[in-house]
């Protein structure tokens, strides 16, 4: 147990710092793969700075909820960062929330963001909110079953426990159940973080937008908070994929060396997953909205297979 609380502070600050860079990296790699020069990976930092300095324009139809939602979205994402073992496990605050708490805290953010999409009363906002909630709802069972698979092999839904258990007994990391659950959760990650082929973060085309349609009315510091929260969400999902399924490098003792190794391996794993997403995004086209449930259905079947195989092998 690592119980110095400064670790949580370090982890929170680190996540806030790295998250925009991760989005920038994905964009940059994608541009390079498409034979474009592309903006440098640190471009999102400039964008955030610019947004924070702009005045916010609020729709006259909007209520207090519209102004409150970005804080909840950002706050819930930051809360999750404190629970997920990014560089060390188990965390001092790890006991206040397990994997289910993480999932539902993220749903809290989505819930308020969708409400904020409906608030200004535009067609786009409603469209985005409706689609976002649809995708979130049908992604939910896959997440639950992936959690089930992890819990089966680790004997716990606590994140710290899953990580340490896998480190103690590396053979469970390669079990077929884990592998299937990883693939299922990866598909859900694409859906939840608004990447191709579910949603395209790079366009504002009305037929296809999901996330972007929902936040169309936001500007200034509110938009900055939402963008930052979105990048945090990507970081959270990739960290979960990296550290729950392949926890090697995560620090289990509070020495500076172990933490240093933890940070470096974590950054490496994030970058690797980011590149995989970038490659994927250059290779696949966006699915029609009503084909998305089929993709998520596939991920559900994979997750169900994952659970079943874990049952059989137990």
């Amino acid at each position: 147990m690592i119980d110095s609380y400064w670790l949580e502070v370090v982890q929170g600050l680190l996540a806030l710092l790295v998250a925009p860079g991760l989005v920038g990296l994905v964009r940059w790699v994608k541009a390079r793969l498409q034979n474009r020069r592309g903006a440098p990976p640190w471009q999102p930092y400039f964008e955030l700075r610019k947004l924070f300095q702009k005045e916010a324009v609020i729709s006259k139809n909007a209520s207090w909820l519209f102004r409150f939602a970005p804080y909840i979205v950002f706050g819930s994402a930051l809360m999750v960062v404190l629970l997920v073992p990014l560089i060390a496990a188990p965390l001092p605050l790890g006991g206040i929330g397990d994997l289910l708490v993480v999932v539902y805290l993220l749903l809290l953010g989505t819930f308020f963001l969708a409400l904020a999409g409906l608030d200004p009363g535009t067609a786009f906002g409603g469209m985005g909110a409706s689609r976002e909630m649809t995708v979130a709802a049908i992604a939910e069972p896959t997440i639950a079953l992936a959690i089930f698979t992890l819990a089966l092999s680790a004997g716990s839904t606590n994140l710290g426990r899953i990580v340490t258990q896998t480190l103690v007994d590396p053979s469970i990391a390669g079990s077929p159940g884990r592998v299937l659950a990883f693939v299922a959760l990866f598909i859900v990650t694409l859906a939840e973080t608004g990447r191709l082929p579910v949603d395209n973060p790079a366009t504002h085309l009305e037929l296809t937008m999901i996330h972007e349609a929902m936040i169309l009315e936001y500007s200034g510091r509110y938009l900055a908070l939402i963008e930052w929260a979105a990048s945090l969400k990507l970081l959270i999902f990739l960290s979960l994929l990296a550290n729950l399924f392949a926890p090697w490098g995560v620090a289990t003792e509070p020495t500076l060396l172990a933490l240093g190794v933890g940070i470096v391996t974590w950054l490496f794993k994030l970058a690797l997953l980011g590149v995989i997403i970038a490659v994927l995004e250059t290779r696949v086209a966006k699915l029609r909205l009503f084909r998305v449930p089929e993709l998520l259905g596939l991920s559900f079947v994979l997750a169900l297979l994952a659970v079943t195989s874990s049952f059989l092998l137990k």
Binding site: G75, L78, L93, V101, Y104, L108, T122, A136, T157, N158
Partner: protein, 675 residues
């Protein structure tokens, strides 16, 4: 305890008395409400005293109902828990009712009847939890159904209400008939108190026990609204006055859960694996179908009624898992699962009560239940909107509110299903987990729709534009429930040990106190998982504070300008451009079209000169729930056919009727002689 009991009874009777003298005007309505609220409050305290002290309260009056063993009351911990649930729902609903019933001063409904029945309904519900012998229980149960029937029929001039009343009466009595048979089968010896039944049940044949359990499940299920016996819920709950809907949906249907636990767990002491598996399957089905049909509803109160079906499903997932673990001898896990079910029971009473009261305020202000005619209410009714939002977040299982805590416990108990010895039972658990997750995701989507379309954006009708905030008494009622939702969410470390006490000893469940750590976080047995909603709540508030400080620290631009929404270059925005509830639910309707099977009809009127000019387009789409189509339509047709056949006997000849009476008597005598 004696005193509390007397206060409860006297207060309800006083409320009825106040209603009989008229119950009109602010004072009359206030007295009726006060009687109900004080009675329910006394019941709540009585329940709490029984659970905390661990000594049951008993009272027997042999003079009333002399042939059935007397009027026999005994409040043990299980009954006390449900008495508390009644109190949690009824105190706020009664206070709310004082203001809400003002709309009936115009004579649309009889305030006298409403006041009497409201108090009587609460009294009889409370006595159901106290009943200690078969006759007392069944009398109170039937009385409760009848009293609530009159409440549903409050606005009896409305044709929909009459239909709703018919459905309700039919389903309630179907349930009663099944329960009568179940209790007859249980009563094999001489005594009819629950203690006697418990002793006799041990000697029953397993097949008979199975039949009794099935009958109890269906009989109580028709009251709780399990699929497919739920058809009266979406009809009757919207028809009743809103504070009554809150009670029926939040509290009364929970007494079906009470009955199921009383008979299945307490009297029968649990049974084979298939009992729990059946309950689990019914729970999963009810949860998913409930929320799916809720999504397609645009009548705010019908939507909430379908969500009651969903939440009963979630409760039954916990209860079913509990029965399964119990039959496998895993008593700790069994206690955990039952605790999840009971926790969700009281949570649902609070947030569904709150939501129905909120819907009632909207109905009160706009005169419509149709969400497509609402909108923009958050500015006109800020308090109602805030309370409804809290209820919506709680029912969507968002942390740190109460819905999340109980769903978390149910989730955890299902995840522990791998410990079940028989693989075919264990494999049900991941499927149940998937269903529960789908349910909670869809519920979140549904409440984004319910809150977003009703309260946000621009008003869609003149009524919504001129809506006004609810009167103070209604706000107080909603505020109380909102506080309960938050409190139950933040303090599971207080609630869970109490629920453990409720269950201790039932069906051989052990005391659970040792299994749960009693600090701020909730730790499950065998270190399986921990969580602390209180710390999550504190953390979220701290982080919100930090964000504001951070924004100042980094010198973010704090100016904001209010302007038009972006309309793709078009100037001026009208409510007709907004997303509607139908449009919001459209993607899910397409995804689940296999289940909904919507009928679609498009009529296009062309210009007589050319097909390129369209004069009008009419689009109509309808969803008939499959159980209506598959089960109830044929059933109703059969009943009509039978009724027509019987009509032949009805010739109008008195002689024929007398002969039939004599014949019936003869047949009955012969039957009685033989058996």
């Amino acid at each position: 305890m004696q005193l509390l009991f007397i206060v409860m009874i006297v207060s309800y009777l006083a409320g009825m008395g106040a209603a009989l003298t008229g119950g009109r005007g602010p004072i009359g309505r206030g007295l009726v409400a006060a009687g109900a609220a004080i009675g329910a409050g006394a019941g709540l305290v009585l329940g709490a005293v029984v659970i905390l002290s661990g000594t049951p309260f008993a009272l027997r009056i042999p003079e009333i109902l002399p042939m059935g063993g007397g009027f026999d009351l005994r409040l043990d911990a299980l009954g006390a828990f449900f008495l508390i649930v009644i109190g949690v729902g009824a105190v706020p609903a009664s206070i709310y009712g004082a203001g809400y019933t003002e709309t009936y001063e115009d004579g649309r409904a009889s305030l006298r009847l409403l006041g009497v029945m409201f108090n009587l309904f609460l009294l009889l519900m409370s006595l159901v939890t106290l009943a200690n012998n078969v006759l007392t229980f069944l009398m109170m149960w039937e009385g409760m159904s009848l009293a609530s029937y009159f409440l549903v029929m409050a606005e009896a001039h409305d044709e929909n209400t009459q239909q709703a009343g018919n459905w309700y009466a039919a389903m309630a009595h179907l349930g009663l008939a099944l329960l009568l048979v179940a209790f007859l089968l249980l009563m094999t010896g001489t005594g009819e108190t629950f203690a006697d039944l418990r002793a006799q049940a041990q000697t029953l044949d397993p097949a008979v026990r199975g039949v009794i359990f099935m009958l109890a499940l269906l009989g109580f299920g028709s009251k709780t609204g399990i699929v497919p016996l739920h058809v009266w819920l979406p009809r009757a709950h919207p028809a009743a006055p809103s504070h009554v809907s809150a009670l029926m949906s939040g509290v009364m249907i929970k007494l079906g859960i009470y009955g199921l636990l009383r008979v299945g767990l307490d009297l029968l002491g649990g049974g084979p694996m298939w009992w729990g598996a059946l309950v689990l399957a019914i729970g999963a089905l009810s949860a998913v179908l409930g929320v799916l049909y809720a999504l397609m509803e645009h009548d705010l109160k019908r939507l909430l009624a379908y969500h009651s079906v969903e939440n009963i499903g979630i409760i039954l997932l916990g209860v079913g898992a509990g029965f399964m673990f119990q039959s496998a001898g895993l008593t700790r896990l069994s206690a955990l699962a039952f605790i999840g079910g009971l926790y969700h029971t009281i949570n649902h009473a609070s947030f569904k009560g709150l939501l129905f009261l909120g819907a009632g305020s909207v109905l009160h202000a706009t005169g419509t239940r149709n969400m497509e005619e609402m909108g923009g209410l958050i500015k006109r009714m800020p308090w109602t909107a805030l309370f409804f939002l809290i209820g919506a977040a709680a029912i969507s299982a968002l942390p740190p509110l109460n819905g999340f805590v109980s769903e978390w416990i149910v989730f955890q108990s299902l995840l522990s299903g791998v410990n079940l010895p028989s693989p075919e039972a264990a494999i049900m658990m991941p499927v149940a987990v998937g269903m529960l997750a789908l349910t909670s995701g869809l519920a979140a989507a549904c409440f984004v729709k319910a809150f977003g379309i009703s309260f946000l954006a621009l008003p869609r009708s003149p009524e919504a534009e001129h809506a006004h905030e609810a009167p103070r008494s209604m706000q107080v009622g909603m505020a109380l429930l909102a506080v309960v939702c938050i409190g139950l969410g933040l303090a599971p470390f207080v609630v869970v040990p109490l629920l453990g006490k409720v269950l201790t000893g039932l069906g051989g469940l052990p005391p659970t106190e040792a299994a749960f750590t009693l600090n701020l976080s909730l730790q499950l047995p065998a270190n399986f998982a921990t969580m602390s909603p209180a710390l999550i709540g504190v953390g979220l508030i701290a982080i919100l504070g930090l964000i504001s400080i951070g924004l100042r620290l980094f010198n973010a631009n704090r100016r904001q300008r209010v302007s038009d929404s972006w309309g793709c270059g078009r100037i001026g925005q009208s409510p007709r451009m907004e997303y509607t509830a139908t449009a919001f639910a459209e993607p899910l309707r397409r995804v689940f079209s296999e289940i909904y099977r919507p009928s679609k009809e498009v009529t296009i009127d062309f210009h007589p000169e050319s097909k390129y000019f369209v004069q009008s387009i009419e689009y109509r789409s309808e969803i008939t729930p499959w159980f209506d189509r598959v089960i109830y339509d044929p059933l109703l047709a059969l009943i009509r056919f039978l009724a027509r056949s019987v009509r032949r006997l009805q010739s109008g000849s008195l002689h024929l009727y007398l002969m039939l009476v004599a014949l019936t008597l003869f047949v009955l005598l012969v039957v009685a002689r033989w058996f």
